[in-house]
């Protein structure tokens, strides 16, 4: 049943998504470009050549761009669509330089092993940021190559050709479509040495328009295929023994008669990994339940009290992440120091599609369909576990039923690969909701201590933010990296002060190593840091006796970032009619934040209904630089806001009796339709480069709601989810 030559690796691991741009917030500038640009252009140069050589292998898409004889442009990427509209945005970018009508554009998620190498995976709100120029360059180069070919075919100089939406036309009116040029081309394609001339942004016809999402028709007819939906001929079902108690490991296994039970195909029991493969899911589960598995519990059970105690700021141990001037000295000598603490709880991703993997391990190769944001990383993880070459493993992208940072786990594919190797048949592992709650990873808890002082003119004198957070990114690095750095890049997303302070600003990050699996969650530290900073700034505004909008305006810098943020704040105040205020009995709360090159400002319209916080409407203004698809920007803004409202009002995971407190949504409910606000979004015109969209809108929402709640109750919410205290 088991192949002893296989070397299993099953420690918890994950993938890193594009960490290089994590620090590229507006204030720092746009740094994503150079390397990925070079890489993409070299990919493009190889790829385009194959793309339009008619002898390219037909069954395997091998490049970024291809044009067929019927003038259909197909864009090949390895970015994963999980609802963020990325495929549509990338297709728009690619088609722009060719001026093709939208009906002629297709896009596919390519499997690993195709020349579309994308080791970074999808996440970090960076797909558009990293692809915007490379894709345009690729398409413009392709256009120039087609022009050269058309000139040869029509025997005219290139200068005599005019580009039309479908191809080229000569001075004398002879037209050729791109597809016809490709079909008639017999010579070698030559990639030009010189960089192509890109369109002026004023000439864009696709970029900046709300094209309809390419993936939506399949999603309203039930035909889109997700990881949970993959069905192969001869497929079997696998289940894996998973602990309920945090930190428990398998101590002993008596398989009893599981191997001879109906439908059982294979049993794997080695290195503390126990799994059953059977013809049906139920048969596999029954067999697993028959086995007598003893778990070795950790010496001390994890407790919520221990997690809270560990996640507590100790100003002496934090690492300085931001320091200008001498905030501590200024606070020391200030007449009045304002201080406030905030806490955010653990939370789960609750992507509605539990993760799943289908892996087919054969002697000649491995095919895997896995709910992953990182196909290339998954391919190498499976290859390593099977002791095979990475090229031997093909990971086929699937739609993801929500990602939010959860689909970065390598174990998912490795488990199915181990079971398939034993069963010698394709094996599907479909996680249950209980698996997700108990055996996934969670957003780490945070604690924030904020201090500030004011100058007599209402400007901020000094600011300090001490943060303690469970690990976000460090959990996937070798331990030495964490020891060396001492702080977590992910936890401090949005943690630095973007407001000015006359005498100084300080931000310190304190790494908390918890006995629970913590990692990425939409925006990483952004929601927690936004809650703390924007609540505290609102408090300072109140202490200064200044309107919260005016106070923010006068304490934002006169930099490019500050100017963008002020324009965003102005836009949201107009949208919500800030000056006339909310309906009778409601309160407005304002907050803003910046992340991934994008500025967001939000106003929450809130009241208290039956003792609970009710968010009626959220107004949002967003400057995400150059916009690819306005309706896509609006949709991501809405999605971030709704997820943030859910976190702010409802969600908290705790530890009870050594295990997570919820196994399903009865104990961890999500926001429902009748709790969901209406949302209005305005996009602020911007000349900045494209910024991220998947995460930034979640930044201000907790602060906006908390600030409205303060106005209603007189008590400032300091923990999430917000609970009302009587006035």
């Amino acid at each position: 049943m088991k192949n002893p030559s296989l070397r299993w690796k099953i420690s918890r691991r994950g993938f890193l998504v594009g960490v290089g741009t994590t620090v590229a917030v507006v204030a720092v500038g746009w740094v994503a470009g150079k390397n990925s640009l070079r890489l993409a252009i070299s990919n493009m140069a190889e790829g385009t050549e194959k793309a339009i050589t008619r002898g390219a292998p037909p069954a395997t898409p091998m490049q970024w761009l291809s044009i067929s004889a019927d003038n259909i442009l197909t864009v090949h990427v390895q970015k994963i669509e999980m609802g963020q509209g990325i495929l549509t945005a990338l297709a728009q970018i690619a088609a722009e330089e060719l001026s093709l009508p939208w009906e002629n554009v297709r896009i596919v998620m390519d499997p690993t092993g195709s020349p579309v190498q994308d080791p970074n995976g999808t996440g970090n709100s960076e797909s558009v940021v990293s692809h915007y120029l490379p894709l345009r360059n690729a398409a413009a180069t392709l256009r120039d190559m087609l022009a050269a070919a058309a000139a040869t075919q029509l025997n005219v100089p290139v200068a005599a050709l005019k580009n039309t939406p479908t191809g080229f036309v000569t001075d004398s009116g002879v037209a050729r479509t791109y597809g016809a040029i490709v079909a008639a081309h017999t010579a070698e394609w030559v990639v030009p040495e010189t960089a192509p001339v890109l369109k002026e942004t004023s000439a864009f016809s696709l970029i900046g328009t709300s094209q309809k999402r390419l993936d939506i028709p399949a999603k309203v007819t039930g035909t889109a295929v997700y990881g949970h939906d993959v069905r192969l001929p001869n497929m079997t079902w696998g289940v894996v023994a998973r602990p309920r108690i945090i930190g428990a490991v398998i101590a002993s296994v008596d398989p009893k008669n599981a191997a001879t039970m109906p439908g059982v195909v294979a049993i794997v029991n080695e290195d503390s990994f126990v799994g059953v493969v059977a013809e049906t899911k139920a048969q596999a589960q029954t067999a697993l339940l028959t086995m007598d598995i003893q778990w070795k519990l950790p010496d001390t059970l994890v407790t919520q009290a221990a997690i809270d105690a560990a996640t507590t700021v100790d100003p002496a141990t934090g690492v300085e992440i931001q320091r200008d001037g001498d905030a501590l000295a200024a606070l020391e000598s200030a007449k009045t120091v304002y201080t406030r603490e905030f806490r955010t709880p653990m939370a789960v991703h609750a992507h509605l599609e539990p993760q799943a993997s289908v892996v087919d391990v054969r002697p000649d190769g491995v095919d895997a369909w896995v709910s992953t944001q990182v196909p290339a990383g998954m391919a190498s993880a499976i290859a390593e576990a099977l002791n095979r070459e990475a090229a031997n493993v093909t990971v086929h992208p699937v739609y993801l039923g929500g990602g939010f940072g959860r689909r970065l786990d390598a174990d998912l594919g490795i488990e199915a690969a181990r079971l398939s190797a034993a069963a010698q048949r394709p094996v599907a592992i479909a996680w249950s909701r209980a698996d997700e709650f108990h055996n996934g990873f969670v957003r780490p808890p945070t604690h924030h201590v904020m201090r500030g002082s004011l100058a007599p003119d209402g400007t901020i004198e000094a600011l300090s933010h001490h943060q303690a957070s469970g690990d976000v990114l460090l959990t996937i690095f070798p331990a030495a990296v964490g020891t060396f750095l001492g702080w977590d890049i992910g936890a401090v997303r949005g943690a630095k002060w973007y407001y000015t302070a006359n005498a100084g600003r300080l931000m310190t990050a304190q790494r908390v190593q918890l006995p629970i699996a913590t990692s990425f969650w939409r925006g990483l530290g952004l929601l927690a840091n936004g809650f703390a900073i924007e609540s505290f700034i609102d408090e300072l505004a109140e202490k200064a006796g200044i309107d919260p909008l005016t106070f923010r305006m006068q304490n934002l810098p006169d930099t490019e970032f500050g100017t963008r943020m002020k324009a965003t704040l102005n836009a949201v105040s107009t949208l919500a009619n800030w000056n006339s205020g909310p309906p009778e009995g409601h309160a407005y709360g304002l907050a803003c934040s910046a992340d991934a090159g994008t500025c967001v400002a939000q106003i929450a319209d809130v009241s208290i209904v039956d003792g609970a916080v009710r968010v009626h409407h959220v107004y949002a203004a967003i400057d995400c630089g150059l916009v690819i698809n306005p309706d896509g920007v609006v949709a991501q803004t809405e999605g971030g806001i709704m997820m943030g409202v859910s976190s702010t009002l409802i969600e908290a995971l705790t530890v009870v009796d050594g295990a997570f407190s919820a196994s399903n949504f009865d104990a961890y409910p999500l926001l429902r339709n009748n709790q969901a606000p209406d949302i209005s979004v305005v996009i602020v015109p911007s000349t900045a480069a494209p910024g991220g969209m998947g995460e930034p809108p979640i930044g201000p929402i907790a602060g906006a709601i908390a600030n409205a709640v303060y106005r209603l109750t007189g008590s400032r919410p300091q923990t999430l989810p917000i609970e009302i205290q009587a006035k």
Binding site: K219, V220, G222, K281, E353, N674
Partner: protein
């Protein structure tokens, strides 16, 4: 045993058991348009129609379905193959993000419109309150359902 699914009789193994409809649809019949989110009757991702009523397939044992008529998202399109007004409206309003909840949302809304052709805003919210959308498309859902109702009932002047 036989089940009537989308107007066709389908034979499934009669194990005398009460395995849930969602499992039979997805794992035995490979009809994966009906989704699975919680298996506990909470999220609504598995919503289908049983005799026209929105029903959670994860909470419905197949041995209770003899003689009943089951409709799934795969059977929602109109007889001529064109999209149901709700499917059109969900495209028009660009509702889905990840899309995993959408079969359930649309089936829940279709059952509402079948009995209430002119739902008020409150009717829509009450009916749709049974279905989670983690991507947060709730207010687009409300708008699209209202729009679909107007498609089904062209306003006459």
């Amino acid at each position: 045993m036989e089940l009537s699914i989308n107007g066709k009789l389908v034979t499934i193994a009669d194990n005398g058991d009460s395995r849930p409809l969602v499992l039979v649809l997805r794992d035995e019949l490979n009809m994966t348009g009906t989704k699975f989110g919680c298996g506990a009757g909470i999220c609504g991702a598995c919503t289908v129609h049983v005799d026209g009523v929105a029903t959670r397939a994860c909470q419905t044992p197949v041995n209770q379905l003899a003689g009943k008529s089951i409709t799934t998202i795969e059977g929602l399109s109109l007889a001529d193959g064109s999209l149901h007004p709700l499917q059109q409206a969900f495209i028009e309003h660009q509702v889905p993000q990840c899309g995993w909840c959408m079969s359930g949302q649309i089936m829940t809304a279709a059952a509402l419109l079948a009995v209430n052709a002119n739902p008020s805003r409150a009717d829509i919210v009450t009916a749709m309150d049974t279905n989670y959308c983690r991507c947060g498309t709730y207010h687009r859902i409300r708008n699209a359902v209202a729009h679909a109702a107007s498609l089904k009932n062209p306003v006459t002047e």
